[in-house]
């Protein structure tokens, strides 16, 4: 009796596995929104994807736990390889960085928290996060700012995409003290990188069906630097006649974003302005806890939150909002072509927010992170196999 039952169970399990195996083999593993079309990650025999995970500092570890819980409950075929890289806790060394890079070379996809940069000047001008970004050449940061249904702010129904060049610009970490009391910081703009980010922006706009790309700059003051950026954008814009191209000055852009953000569609800009506008736009829809973001290079994709803050004052108190990380995880699943699971996770999160019963403190509620994760797990419309 038991033997018969076990045999039929075995048959059922084998069936299910073969179905998944067929799905994986037939669907091409294309990575979305990538300019140069990288080679697909090799299909895995055990049907799970390996993803590098760097929890980072502050509430990073808590958010990653939330993601892992939701993935477990949803039977998502993703396995995480964790690396604890942290500059403030003195756990960051060159070897660890190399380990992470090696893991990335095999996996090509990562989820990351924010690696906080300590304030004291320890003799290293580039922080670990910058170095990671440069070594992986993650040149484009895409933040898709979407108003959450069910949570109203001063501006509703926003739908913006902010594309930011992430490797050069003001974050070049080239500073020196030429005379005592006078410090010079260099901002580098190159034609090659400006063209690359402009092409990325226009390709993204074409792929997602967007109408307009606006370049943000300060070329009236920094005539040569931002002038070069604008020139590159204008050259690339000529290759895409269907997409409208406009330019706007950064301070006017900030003013317009708080008065009338609906006039923008896709924004492309160098590094520092991107940082400002990312955070501004995140604030418009509800804060750093609700906006996901991703960084792309020609070969790798890293998924994280849109507005990067370690949020150290919330560590251990179980009050952080995991929405941003969960939506980012859903984006990652879509990137890995696991459409079904991606839709499941993002639907669950959006349903919980729409219902409004379980809300973390930054959205005006009183629930803890754990409560929110439990609510998301309940809303996952997935029946696991027994």
């Amino acid at each position: 009796m038991a033997a018969v039952f076990r045999r039929s169970l075995g048959a059922v399990v084998k069936d299910l596995y073969s179905l998944q195996w067929q799905q994986l083999a037939s669907r091409p593993l294309s990575l979305s929104a990538n300019v140069c079309g990288p080679e697909a990650a090799p299909a895995r025999a055990d049907a799970t994807f390996k993803v590098t995970m760097v929890p980072g500092d502050g509430v990073g570890p808590e958010l990653m736990t939330a993601v892992k819980e939701v993935f477990k409950a949803g039977d998502v075929p993703v396995e995480f390889e964790e690396f604890h890289l942290s500059e403030v806790q003195n756990m960051a060394t060159e070897e660890k960085l190399d380990e992470v890079l090696n893991s990335m070379k095999t996996n090509r996809v990562a989820m990351k928290g924010k690696i906080h940069t300590p304030m004291e000047f320890k003799g290293e001008l580039a922080s670990f996060e910058m170095r990671l970004r440069r070594k992986l050449d993650l040149f484009a940061n895409v933040v898709h700012v979407n108003s959450l249904p069910g949570y109203s702010t001063r501006h509703n129904n926003l739908d913006l995409v902010i594309i930011r060049e992430q490797t050069e610009g003001e974050y070049s970490s080239l500073e020196h003290e030429s005379v005592t009391g006078v410090i010079e910081c260099l901002k580098i703009i190159t034609r090659v990188k400006s063209r690359r980010i402009a092409k990325f922006a226009f390709d993204y706009a074409t792929k997602k069906g967007r109408n307009k790309v606006t370049a943000v700059h300060k070329a009236n003051i920094m005539k040569l630097g931002d002038g070069l950026f604008l020139q590159s954008c204008a050259e690339i814009a000529q290759l895409y006649p269907k997409i409208k191209y406009e330019t706007i000055i950064i301070d006017n852009c900030c003013m317009q974003l708080v008065q009338n953000p609906y006039q923008f569609d896709v924004l492309v800009m160098p590094n520092l302005y991107g940082n400002i506008i990312d955070n501004l736009a995140a604030g418009l829809v509800g804060g750093a806890g609700v906006v996901p973001g991703e960084s792309y290079s020609a070969e790798y994709a890293v998924f994280e939150t849109g507005a990067r803050h370690p949020f150290a004052q919330a560590v251990g108190r179980n009050i952080a909002n995991p929405t941003a990380m969960l939506l980012s995880a859903a984006n990652m699943l879509r990137h890995l072509s696991l459409e079904y699971h991606s839709q499941m996770v993002s639907d669950a999160v959006k349903r919980v927010i729409k219902q409004g019963k379980v809300r973390t403190r930054d959205l005006g509620g009183y629930s803890t992170t754990g409560d929110f994760v439990r609510a998301v797990v309940e809303n996952l419309r997935h029946r696991s196999v027994y």
């Binding site: 410090i183 703009i189 090659v192 300060k218 040569l224 630097g225 000055i249 006017n252 803050h309």
Partner: protein
Amino acid sequence: MAGKAWRSAIQNLLRQWGFSFNDMEKTKAQELSQVVGVMMRESPQPRTFIRGMQTVTLIPGDGIGPEISSSVMKIFEASKAPIQWEERNVTAIQGPGGKWMIPPDAKESMDRNKIGLKGPLKTPIAAGHPSMNLLLRKTFDLYANVRPCVSIEGYKTPYTDVDLVTIRENTEGEYSGIEHVIVDGVVQSIKLITEQASQRIADYAFEYARNNQRASVTAVHKANIMRMSDGLFLRKCREAAEKHKDVKFTEMYLDTVCLNMVQDPTQFDVLVMPNLYGDILSDLCAGLIGGLGVTPSGNIGANGVAIFESVHGTAPDIAGKDMANPTALLLSAVMMLRHMGLHGHAKKIETACFDTIRDKKVTSTSKRQTFISFESSDNCAFCTLRFSQKTWVGTQSVPNSRMQYAKECKTWSKN
């Protein structure tokens, strides 16, 4: 008896002249808050009263400048403020040695009067000389740009109860203008931070907070990325905070400030920052209260010079049509009155201005049709909205921007 009457008469006279000689008079100190630089400590404050009429250099500017300046002069006349205007024009002329400078009579007038009011100045694109605003800044060493952003009662925006001041270092930082082409296709811009300038602006910020009864000063920086340069700026702010222990000091990253500013602007009080961040944040705060058309601004210089200006552009397309809104210049003039210590007149004019905006009463012809324009202060991009008084009643935020956006949408769909 007679002696007592005589003494009280003298006391009254002295009170009129602004001298306070016993502690009872000190309660008026609440009203005597002013926008004041460190220099004011050296010269006694009530000198303006003694002279009677104070002369102020007026620079009308270009485009709508002359109209709004004349309306401001009319309002001042009607309110009987003791101000005498000296009009001067600033156009760039080439001095000996080929250096561009402002006309010597304008410079001499400003140096004499120390207070100025400026309308919008046009920067011609290929004129060969730097922008007029830059020239003025260099000539008078205007190191601090102060922009108080207070929500206007009659003009509704999605952000209510905004009451903050942005103080921006105006001479160095990213706007040093030093750029090189290293190789073809690679450009480097230099951001300069000096100890002296950072110290000056930090001291000024705390002085301002103290004189205007402000509770806290927040330094805005990006020292996690630009460790040496913003690190120096932050160090100077911390040192200034040590010297002024009665004002609370906090420091915040620029991206955190942006994030929190659009969610809850009431948590900020006085913000001090280097040039680029100041440019962006001050325009952001102006957007919160309604745009550059209603924001006052003042520039404080090294020798007690202070120039108050309206930061919007020249709007050449509506110049001369009696359509411009002088609110920005008027509020800047009110700020100037406060700086000079004429608080009574300042309050009177400010209340009249706010009442007009709230009740839509037409008091002068130049306000019949209201207009808000916002553009970057260097005239490169501008967007104008025109709306009659009717649409202003009971609508929130900036209604016609939606109409303009809708118009633009129609043109996109045609393409």
